[in-house]
Symmetry: C2
Subunit: 127 residues, 2 copies
């Protein structure tokens, strides 16, 4: 399953450009027409061992500040820093392997077609 990803802060010019540059990151039809955008603040939390998010909606995530590692099932962990984004398709199993315990990590998440808020995972709980 393809997971489009990129860094919002990559390839910045050193001077002024004549025009703004509009880059479409993702253009998708939603499941239900419901969109929920949220801030997630992490301070070292991660998904419990063996836990996978398995959502029936697409989720766009952006790290605005801090650092994290996100794992797509069957892949190595991906390190994410400020500006890194991922578009996680519905049913793509994934977990948060690590967030920086030394400083806050701020995410922007756009839940596209979400029927309900994502399950809240607490450290030390089983899913």
């Amino acid at each position: 399953m393809s997971v489009p990803a990129g860094n919002l802060l990559a390839g910045l010019p050193s001077g002024s450009l004549r025009d703004e540059i509009f880059t479409t990151l993702t253009d998708t039809a939603s499941l239900s027409g419901t969109v929920r955008i949220e801030r997630i603040l992490s301070t070292g939390q991660a998904s419990p061992d063996g836990f996978w998010y398995d959502q029936d909606w697409d989720e766009f995530v952006l790290v605005v500040l801090g650092g994290a590692r996100l794992q797509i099932e069957g892949e190595a962990e991906r390190a994410l820093g400020p500006g890194d984004w991922m578009m996680i398709p519905a049913r793509q199993r994934h977990r948060v392997a690590w967030t920086d315990p030394a400083a806050p990590t701020v995410w922007l998440a756009v839940h596209i077609g979400a029927q309900k808020p994502p399950q809240k995972i607490r450290q030390g709980e089983t899913a």
Copy 2:
């Protein structure tokens, strides 16, 4: 017309919290089920004098880097910096009054229910 707005980087803790904090910024039904997320890179551009964006879809915008001033019709200009976000409802006339000419400004925009890409405005052109 209400324009929910906030700063993603406000109120950060100095240490670790027991749990992550999930904050819903906006929870809305879209017009069409189509969601488009884009990066916008500005290097001093602004909307031409007298021009207003007047879109038939909701748009969430976030300043990830840099600085800008956004004007909602009938209001004073609002200064936006890194982390500042706004949810601009459909039909809410607005314009970009200023972006920092000295350094790049990176926006994240989520177009909710957009039927087509937003009109591209070039400096010096009339809308």
